[in-house]
Structures are given as structure tokens and as C-alpha cells.
């Protein structure tokens, strides 16, 4: 029997999802043995023409990481959708928009203006800005269009499954690959990680506040961090209550709070709103003034509550006049 064809592709991403695949270590040999990789630009030769030449749905599964930031990323994502039976959004950027999605608090004009005109190291007397088409004396040079808004993968193509995390941990990657190879798949649209909150398995759960205890929000650099006590109980913003389990509490193990890279559970539509509600339930305040004082002490609530998930949230982006 022919081996199933598999593609890996990257959009607006950092290469960390590729490293995560290499971190499978000896397991990667098992994967390579079981499948035929038809596309993996970081590790193998890639010919877009070869992908174009495939039958529709000839690729069994495409793993696509990164957010959609440029016209070419959207183009390749659509091509892979057409040629693939299954598409898995791989990692936080494809799943939620990720850290590059924080750019939705700004817009293309502001990014170009700062990067190419106002940055203190820029020396650009002619106020040149990169263009999609440039005529040089030898001919024409082109660049892809840089979109005004960062999109998640499922905002440009239909996505079958999501592998969460920045980057997804090796055990979840292997589980997903095995599930696909054996056809033992959950309902379409599932996130391939346990559907409970991070707090449910956190070693610090025992100290998690059940009722109103927080009188003040502190920032990580302002206080010594207790290595055993729930961060929320210490007054430190930790997105555990609004975040899906499955990461192995990697950040908590380093004595740092969660920032939500796994996104929410299936029962939650908007991770930031869910965290706001969780936080409200543990704030100890009686008057409006007290409440305002506490909420004012949260630095950049929108940025922190939607650290990884702004493009996938109900907000999607800051209103752009």
C-alpha cells in the first residue's frame, strides 16, 4: 500500500514549530518511515509546481504553521487546502494568530512608518518604503502584499484539526500523527489536546483561590515569585484558568505564569473574556473605587489576556479608522 503523503508548511512564523518536529528526536524516524513527505521547505526540496501537479486531496494531511500575514501565505494555504484531505493548524500562530497577531493592535501603515521611517537607527533621507513593485533600471522587482490584519489559518481556509501550543510539545505531535495514521480521529474541528483547563493539572492547584482574595495585581518583575504557590494567589496574572491543558505546565515549571499559548477549551469562545471572568471572581473588592483601583493595576489587560489569541478572538483587531 502506498504511504500517505504528508506536507509541512510555514506561514508567518518563527521556525519554532519546525524545531518542535525535529525535537521528536528518534520518533521522527518512525514518522518518516510511515509517511511520504511531499513538502517540508525547511528540511527538503520544495517545488510548488509539484504540489500544483498533485490531484486534489492527494496529500493525506497538511500541517500548516504560522499566521497569515501576506498574500503569498494565503495563496499557498489555499493551494494546500485544495490538495489535502486533512489540514491541521499546527501551533499557536495558525490556531489563534499567536504573538505576531498582537500586530492587530496596530496596522500596516504604522508598522511601515516606524520600521522604515521613524526607527532611531534608520537612515532614509528619501523616505523610501518597500513596494510590491519596484522598477529598477534592469527590470521589475516584486514583493508580496503585506496585509493590514493578521489572520488565523481558519479565517482563510477550512481547517480540520488544531495542534495547539507555542510550539506544540512532542508528545501531542506524536499523538496527532498516530491518530491520523490509524484513522482514529475525533470530531472535525477538535483541538488535539485534553479538553480541560491548565489549572486542573497544575501542581500549584491546591493553593488556587476559590473565592475573592486578590486586593492588588502585581507584575512579575515587582515581587519574588513563590515557586509553589498559585500565581493568582500571589496576585500575578496567570492565564491558567482560561487556557487548555496539555503543555505539561512548561512555563509554570520555570516559575513563570501561563500566557495562554494553548488557547481556550471547547467550552470557551473567547480566551480573554474567559480570563476576565475568572479574574473578576477572585478579586476582593466591595466598592466601585476599590474595583477600579485593582483593575487599574493590571498592566495592558488587552495585550496580556489576548497574548496569543487576538486574531481568533471576538475582537479580532483594534478598530482601524
Amino acid at each position: 500500500m502506498a504511504k500517505p503523503k504528508v506536507a509541512f508548511y510555514w506561514c508567518a512564523s518563527c521556525g519554532g514549530c519546525e524545531e518542535a518536529v525535529v525535537d521528536l528526536a528518534e520518533n521522527i524516524l518512525k514518522v518518516v518511515e510511515a509517511v511520504e513527505i511531499v513538502l517540508w521547505p525547511v528540511a527538503m526540496d520544495f517545488k510548488i509546481k509539484d504540489v500544483e501537479a498533485l490531484q486534489d486531496k492527494e496529500i493525506a494531511v497538511s500541517f500548516i504553521n504560522g499566521a497569515i500575514r501576506t498574500s503569498e501565505q494565503e495563496h499557498v494555504a489555499k493551494l494546500l487546502r485544495k490538495k489535502s484531505g486533512l489540514v491541521v493548524a499546527f501551533g499557536a500562530c495558525a490556531h489563534l494568530g499567536g504573538i505576531p497577531g498582537l500586530a492587530n493592535f496596530s496596522n500596516r501603515a504604522k508598522i511601515f512608518d516606524y520600521v522604515y521611517h521613524r526607527s532611531p537607527s534608520v537612515d532614509n533621507p528619501d523616505r523610501i518604503t518597500p513596494q510590491e513593485k519596484t522598477i529598477v533600471k534592469e527590470g521589475e522587482l516584486t514583493l508580496p502584499e503585506f496585509y493590514n490584519t493578521v489572520h488565523t489559518l481558519d479565517q482563510v481556509i477550512d481547517v480540520d484539526y488544531y495542534l495547539p501550543g507555542c510550539a506544540p510539545p512532542p508528545d501531542l505531535i506524536m499523538n496527532a500523527v498516530e491518530a491520523i495514521l490509524t484513522g482514529n480521529l475525533p470530531e472535525k474541528g477538535s483541538v488535539l489536546s485534553p479538553d480541560k483547563s491548565l489549572c486542573d493539572t497544575c501542581k500549584r492547584k491546591i493553593t488556587k483561590p476559590e473565592k475573592s482574595v486578590i486586593k492588588e495585581i502585581k507584575r512579575v518583575h515587582e515581587v519574588m515569585l513563590d515557586p509553589d504557590r498559585c500565581f493568582l494567589d500571589q496576585g500575578i496574572i496567570c492565564l491558567g484558568p482560561a487556557t487548555r491543558d496539555g503543555c505539561g505546565e512548561r512555563c509554570i515549571n520555570a516559575n513563570m505564569p501561563c500566557r495562554g499559548c494553548f488557547g481556550p477549551t471547547s467550552r470557551v469562545d473567547d480566551q480573554g473574556a474567559k480570563f476576565l471572568s475568572a479574574l473578576a471572581s477572585i478579586i476582593d473588592a466591595d466598592t466601585d473605587d476599590e474595583i477600579r483601583k485593582i483593575t487599574d493595576s493590571i498592566a495592558d489587560p488587552a495585550g496580556i489576556f489576548y497574548f496569543y489569541s487576538l486574531p481568533s478572538s471576538m475582537l479580532k483587531r483594534k478598530f482601524d479608522k
Binding site: C14, G15, D23, V42, D45, Y116, S121, P130, L143, M224
Partner: protein
């Protein structure tokens, strides 16, 4: 008829780098453009974020070198909040960083840069990859490479919680101390690292230095550029990755200037071209003269060979001996041969391993006091480290509450952007004559490009395998008349 050649190194449309070669009417190379077609805008979306989150935001620039951005950002926060980390915290950061440099440099040699030499620049392309290296050096060695990678990454995880995007850095220290048990484990990893780096240098000697053809290629003119060099040095002018002053030497090897990280804007400017999303840094005090080398051009280079060229030596004994040997062999400082980056990279890997061992054997490193809480009002902070691919600069400004109001980043590979364009153009000019495109062009251009270990959009390097290339030769109407592909 004027022709045009497009090399898309990643072959995919969006790519992380695209090369356009224009031929003149005679068919000789008229002009080469190296384009970076991607941008994400970290400088702008960092604005409004709390400064202490920057070490968790900026690593997402590059998932291959996240430790570099994490440590650089953390150092910028020390400066921003005017807080000095306790001695143990500084040593732990440098220890973690040394493990990272060792891993990254060694991997580059075996997986990416090495195949050009170990398997050979003229070997069939299908063999010029990690599998070819394994066939040549044996499966046992490949196992060693994979083991070292995993061990170094486990060391980074001990501190950072995760190796892809570590999280432990805080202004004034790190988030948790090192236990004695873990210290002992790291000592063993570092010892293995020293052995392995020596072993890699031995392979380099056997395979490259004992082969006259390769030596001719390294010292030949195709890959040579007389430029300025920039890198970080300690107080004795020895190479340092974690902390020190920035030193620049002239194409003749004389000290041009030496400055503190906070003074970088006096020395580095960035040009903008309409045909690339990447900017082109140059030395302000020399001036921008375009994509040319020489003493009058502000183009400079960074990364392993540049660091060795700007320094007076290595701070550890085994690496120092290798440093002396390299300059003896290549005829003294500075070395302008781009392919010598590979040799310099291995010497640095040995230094990283030796430094890792020194730090892990320092008993002070398990001191539980690893944080000082900042008390000053933040305003502006600059952090610089030496990334595997060169000098990395993070510069933040904040309001009095520590909310970012401005962020400027000069990412390591970007420093080399102009020099990479020049190296590609030079290789192309020597290999394309009167419209005849040599079949060796792809390999040779790729080698020019790869010696820098380029990290455009921070993702095109590393990993097992190679950068695939294809060239389309087009006539003036834009029709493809010939296609050359490397499988």
C-alpha cells in the same frame, strides 16, 4: 538579448529570500538583488506591552534562536530598570547561553554548512545533505550529534522551562536558581561538549584542511570580501557572547572603534530599499557607498569569522590554540574569506563548551540568590548579545510605568544583509559569462549564502537538509527559456 535569472532559495512563493540576477546584453551579470519578502512588525506591536513581557514576546522572532532573543531582551530590561542581577544569575544566564551556542553552532556544521565540505561541493546534490554526511562519517557520529543536541536543549529547558521560547528571564535576574543535582548533570554535558567540539574540528581538519581543492576554494577570490567587522569583546579583547563592548576593525584589521551597547546609534545606520522588506545596516562613521567592499564603504560583517577578526583571541585555552592555528593557516588577521566562517564557527563552539564547563564548575552558580527586585523608574534600556549569526540589539523605551513606547531591533543576520548581496553577486559574476550559466552556479551561490548561516525571517537555516534552489532564465518578455533545478 537581456536575460533575467530568478533564484528563489526556498522555492516556495513567500520564501524568506529571493535572488534576482540581471544579465547585460552580452550575457554577463549586470546586477544582483537579494530580496527578503517578509516582515512581521515586532517593533510596533511591542508598543503598549509591559516591558517585563518582552523576553516572552521577542523570542517569537526566531524559533531557532529564541534563547538569543530571550537573553538579549532580559539584558535590555536590566538596563531599562537599572538593576544589576546577582552574580549567580549572570552566570546562569551565560551558562544557558553557552549551551545554546554550542548546540546551534555544532548543528550548523553537521546539518547545514558541513555537507558542502564533508560530502564535497561537487558531489551530487542529492548527497549534499545530512544523510550524505552520515554516509561519509558513519551512523555512530550522527547519533552523537543528535545526543549532544538533545542534552544541550535539556540544559536550556532546566532554566527556561521550554527550549522553544524559554521564559526564565526577568530584569535583575532569572526566575529560579540551579540545584546541585542539576549542576552536576550540566558538568557532564559540558565535558561531552568539549570533546565533541574538538572532534568536529578534527573532522574539519581531516576533510577540509587536508584537501588541497577545498583549501583553494576557502582561500580563493570567489568568496572573498575585504569589509569592516563587528563583534563583542570582553575587557581583554577576547571573544564574548554574553557581555562586553562592541569592537569594530577595519578591512586592514586595525581597531576602528570600540563602543558600549548604549552608544550603538552613533555607529550603526540602516538603509531602506524599496525592493526588500529587510533593511541594510552600515557604519555611520564610514558612510553608505552602496553594495561594495573596501575601506571607504560602511558595509561590515558580523557572526563567527567577524568575531574572531575583531578579537585578540579566545578566553579559553583549547579554543585559543585553535584560533592561533586558523590565523596561521590562513595567513594572519583579518581573514576576509567568507568560507572561513565555517572554521570560525567550530572554534566558537569549542569556546562555548569550555565556557559552559567553567561556569558549571563554579560553585557560586548554585547560590539561591538569583534576583534583585528593581526599584528605579524605567525609561530606556539597550541590550546586546552575540547571536550565533552576529550582533543582536534590543532597544526599548517605556513610560514611567514600564509600558513600551518604542522598540528598535537590529537582528543578527540583518547586519550581514548588504554583504550577503555582495557575496552572491560576486559568485554569480564569476560563474555566469556571456549568457552561459554554469551548472555549478547553484552550488556555488548557495555556498556563498550558506557560509553566513543566514536566518532571514529567522527561519531559513538549521534543520537537517538543504536550501533548495531553482533558477529561471527569462528573456526580456519574461518567458522562461531555461530552468535549472537542484533536486
Amino acid at each position: 538579448m537581456r536575460k533575467r535569472i530568478t533564484i528563489d532559495p526556498i522555492t516556495r512563493l513567500e520564501g524568506h529570500g529571493k535572488i534576482e540576477i540581471f544579465l547585460d546584453d552580452r550575457g554577463d551579470v549586470e546586477k544582483v538583488y537579494f530580496q527578503v519578502p517578509e516582515l512581521r512588525g515586532f517593533e510596533i506591536f511591542s508598543v503598549g506591552r509591559p516591558a517585563e513581557e518582552m523576553p516572552r514576546i521577542t523570542p517569537k522572532i526566531c524559533g531557532v534562536c529564541p534563547t538569543t532573543h530571550h537573553i538579549c531582551s532580559t539584558k535590555a530590561l536590566d538596563d531599562l530598570f537599572k538593576v544589576e542581577p546577582p552574580p549567580a544569575a549572570k552566570k546562569l544566564r551565560e551558562l544557558m547561553y553557552s549551551a545554546f551556542m554550542l548546540e546551534d553552532h555544532t548543528l550548523h556544521f553537521f546539518f547545514l554548512g558541513g555537507p558542502d565540505f564533508v560530502v564535497g561541493p561537487s558531489a551530487p546534490p542529492a548527497e549534499r545533505n545530512i544523510l550524505g554526511v552520515i554516509a561519509k562519517v558513519g551512523l555512530e557520529i550522527a547519533g552523537k550529534v543528535i545526543k549532544l543536541r538533545k542534552e544541550c536543549r535539556d540544559v536550556i529547558t532546566l532554566f527556561g522551562g521550554r527550549v522553544i521560547h524559554p521564559v526564565c528571564g526577568l530584569p535583575g535576574g532569572i526566575s529560579k536558581p540551579l540545584t546541585e543535582d542539576n549542576r552536576l548533570k550540566i558538568v557532564e554535558v559540558a565535558k561531552g561538549g568539549v570533546e565533541f567540539a574538538q572532534f568536529a574540528l578534527k573532522i574539519f581538519e581531516d576533510v577540509v584542511l587536508k584537501n588541497k581543492d577545498y583549501v583553494d576554494l576557502v582561500v580563493g577570490d570567489v568568496y572573498k570580501h575585504a569589509t569592516y567587522y563587528m563583534g563583542m569583546v570582553d575587557k581583554n579583547n577576547k571573544v564574548n557572547f554574553y557581555d562586553g563592548d562592541i569592537r569594530i576593525v577595519t578591512p586592514e584589521g586595525k581597531e576602528f572603534t570600540r563602543f558600549k551597547p548604549g552608544e550603538y546609534l552613533d555607529h550603526i545606520g540602516e538603509r531602506v530599499e524599496s525592493w526588500s522588506y529587510v533593511k541594510f545596516p552600515y557604519l555611520k562613521k564610514v558612510g553608505w557607498k552602496g553594495f561594495v567592499d573596501g575601506v571607504d564603504s560602511g558595509v561590515y560583517r558580523v557572526a563567527p569569522l567577524a568575531r574572531l577578526n575583531v578579537s585578540d583571541g579566545m578566553a579559553t585555552p583549547l579554543a585559543q590554540a585553535e584560533y592561533e592555528r586558523m590565523y596561521e593557516t590562513l595567513g594572519g588577521k583579518p581573514v576576509h574569506n567568507t568560507l572561513a566562517f565555517h572554521w570560525a564557527r567550530l572554534i566558537e563552539a569549542l569556546y562555548a563548551a569550555e565556557r559552559m564547563l567553567e561556569l558549571a564548575q563554579d560553585k557560586e552558580i548554585t547560590d539561591p540568590h538569583v534576583r534583585n527586585i528593581p526599584t528605579a523608574t524605567p525609561n530606556e534600556g539597550i541590550g546586546i548579545v552575540e547571536a550565533p549569526r552576529g550582533t543582536l540589539i534590543h532597544h526599548y523605551k517605556t513610560d514611567k510605568n514600564g509600558i513600551i513606547t518604542e522598540a528598535n531591533l537590529i537582528v543578527a543576520t540583518v547586519n550581514n544583509a548588504a554583504a550577503i548581496c555582495m557575496s552572491i553577486e560576486k559568485a554569480a559574476k564569476s560563474l555566469i559569462r556571456e549568457g552561459n550559466v554554469s551548472d555549478g552556479l547553484l552550488n556555488m551561490v548557495e555556498m556563498a549564502f550558506r557560509a553566513y548561516d543566514p536566518c532571514f525571517a529567522c527561519a531559513t537555516h538549521s534543520m537537517p537538509g538543504k536550501i533548495p534552489l531553482s533558477i529561471n532564465i527569462r528573456n526580456r518578455q519574461g518567458e522562461i527559456t531555461q530552468t535549472i533545478e537542484r533536486d
